[in-house]
């Protein structure tokens, strides 16, 4: 007598272990998804646009996260908090403000005092001082990240600690960083600039705040640069080699510590950009990075861990799905991330390596 197959077994069969999918299934699913995306873009253009902007922030964060995980072998749960650290560094470089015992204390050395530093570029809310502050923030953030790697992650990895231990250690780093941010800048949310934000309409696209175009373009440009670096340079190839097979990379003369260091430096640039743009889009708040950790991880997994293009695409999809499903009125805004998570679960059930991960 045959026992009936359990739902789990039937699902395994459905996944392809026992049943061959009809020909062109993948193509049909992609075509349907594309049609739904086009329909959503037309029908809910404003939400679609907002989703792209929110998604580009997830994307930029996820690209850094996926590099750290796949090359430096670190499940970096402090990613959101390091982003906020960088965002506050930008704030400090720009305004010189830290919290004192009787209110804010302002450093005499501050970029916004430079001539014309706050004069708005095009219709953005910021001037060249903000961009200069971003550079200073990266210069401050990268050594902090390298120190965290050198004194926390590297010793643990050297001892052969598993992912769970390193993940817990990174949670410790996250909590410590958040505490430091609160200590230095306080719990009151802050902004880079307090002026009115201009909106623009490009071609027939929905009208959005000019800064949001800046966010979208920076996310796209940085992802292209990272992809170019990974796939077109010697350093990038050695980084991919390390991600693929660390022992063989060593047997080829690649010094693992050097590659890991470069990975953290590149991730530091991405972390600075992601954190600062996130704060530009909303505000500076110590716990904002941690709140967004879930969609950032989701974006990296959605796209395929180790693939920067996948992480970028995953971020955009998570952002758009979250916003558009709420706009349809089927779900209340509180469920927007839940809908994105369901989409993620469906993708990884049928394609565990993500959209653009290794087959």
């Amino acid at each position: 007598m045959h026992a009936a197959a359990s739902p789990v077994e039937r699902f395994r069969q459905l996944r392809g272990a026992g049943i061959a999918w009809p020909r062109y299934t993948t193509e049909v699913v992609i075509a349907l998804s594309a049609l739904i995306a086009v329909w959503a873009a037309i029908q809910y253009s404003q939400s679609f646009m907002t989703g792209l902007i929110v998604g580009s922030l997830y994307a930029l964060s996820a690209v850094g996260l996926t590099l750290i995980y796949s090359i430096a072998r670190t499940p970096h749960f402090a990613h959101g908090d390091t982003m906020m650290m960088a965002a506050y560094f930008t704030f400090f470089a720009l305004t010189g403000v830290v919290i004192g015992s009787k209110g804010d204390v302002v450093s005499p050395i501050r970029i916004d005092r430079l001539p014309g530093a706050t004069d708005q570029i095009w219709r953005f809310s910021f001037g060249y001082g903000f961009l200069l502050a971003c550079v200073v923030s990266a210069i401050l953030s990268i050594p902090v990240l390298l120190l965290i790697n050198r004194f926390i992650y590297r010793p643990l990895l050297g001892r052969g600690s598993g992912s769970a231990i390193i993940a817990v250690a990174s949670l410790g780093v996250a909590i410590a960083l958040r505490g430091l941010i609160l200590l230095i800048w306080g719990a009151t949310p802050r902004k880079y600039s307090t002026g009115i934000r201009d909106t623009v309409q490009v071609w027939k696209l929905p009208r959005v705040v000019a800064d949001q175009y800046f966010i979208l373009v920076v996310a796209l440009v940085l992802t292209i640069l990272v992809s170019w670096l990974l796939f077109r340079t010697k350093l990038g190839t050695s980084m991919r080699a390390m991600a693929d097979n660390p022992d063989l990379a060593r047997a080829s003369g690649i010094v693992a510590a050097d590659v890991t260091r470069w990975t953290w430096i590149i991730a530091g640039v991405l972390i600075t950009a992601a954190g600062t743009l996130l704060a530009l889009q909303s505000q500076l708040s110590a716990d904002l990075g941690f709140v967004l950790l879930l969609p950032i991880f989701a974006a990296a997994i959605f796209g395929g861990v180790g693939s920067p293009q996948g992480a970028f695409l995953g971020g955009l999809i998570i952002g758009v799905v979250s916003e558009v499903t709420v706009a349809t009125g089927l779900f209340s805004p509180g469920y927007k991330i839940a809908v994105a998570m369901v989409a993620l679960i469906l993708v990884i059930l049928f394609r565990p390596s993500g959209l653009m991960g290794p087959k």
Binding site: T237, A241, D244, A249, S252, G253, I254
Partner: protein
């Protein structure tokens, strides 16, 4: 032994995995231009010896020297720079990288002559030449082994360490791999090879060592080992 100075000399090597001692004082030598094969039953410590020489396992006692220079404590990365090429038994290619990228990674630390060496390696493996843009993860076992050997040759190593190059290959592909090893040796690269297919490996080798339970059991010219009744009965399945 002859008076020729060995390229590689491993003396009284003690090594293993953590507290488990696998090698209990093994010694091997490779002279210039030689192919030397190490055979022995499973668990004899053959692969462990290659890993210890290549710095992948700690050498707790004994010394390894390359051209008379002590390299016992050098890191794997520095052993590569010193002139040792290593082809692991498994996971011996970067499967997500193309054939071209695999070969270029083999020459990662090369300052000059990279393109010339790349062309030379490709000419050695003409089958790979037309597929340079393919990912190695999609190649057959034999083709992957060719990429792995090609990668190790990119730095013009003084000696090539090969860990069971014919493992999991069809007899035809094994034959091809051994033929390539012989060809590479004929071009001037010495080789120290660990192999389960002892008959074929010894057939292309100059000398051989037989290990058992982490110790040297026999050594001598490959033809003598092939002709030895003891070795044939115990280790060659005759």
């Amino acid at each position: 032994m002859t008076d020729v100075a060995p390229i590689l000399s491993a003396r009284d090597i003690v090594s293993g995995y953590g507290p488990v001692q696998i090698l209990k004082g093994v010694s091997v030598e490779v002279l210039p231009g030689e192919i030397v094969t190490i055979i022995g039953p499973n668990g004899a410590g053959k692969s462990t010896l290659l890993k210890a020489i290549f710095g992948l396992l700690p050498v707790t006692e004994g010394h390894v020297s390359l051209h008379g220079v002590d390299i016992t404590r050098l890191s794997t990365e520095n052993l590569v720079r010193a002139g040792i090429g290593f082809v692991p038994q498994t996971n011996n290619v970067f499967s997500s990288l193309t054939i071209r990228e695999n070969l270029l990674m083999g020459g990662f630390i090369r300052d000059e002559g990279l393109q010339d060496r790349f062309d030379w390696v490709v000419s050695l493996f003409p089958d790979l030449g037309s597929r340079l843009s393919e990912k190695t993860g999609k190649l057959s076992g034999g083709q992957r082994q060719m990429v792995a050997i090609g990668r190790a040759l990119m730095l013009e190593p003084k000696i090539l360490l090969l860990d069971e190059p014919s493992a999991s290959l069809s007899p035809k592909m094994s034959e091809m791999v051994f033929e390539k090893v012989r060809e590479i040796n004929g071009l001037g690269t010495a080789a120290l090879m660990v192999e389960q297919d002892a008959q074929r490996a010894l057939a292309i080798s100059h000398r051989g060592y037989v290990l058992a339970a982490g110790e040297n059991r026999y050594e001598g010219p490959a033809s003598d080992l092939l002709g030895s009744d003891d070795v044939r009965r115990l280790y060659l399945g005759a």
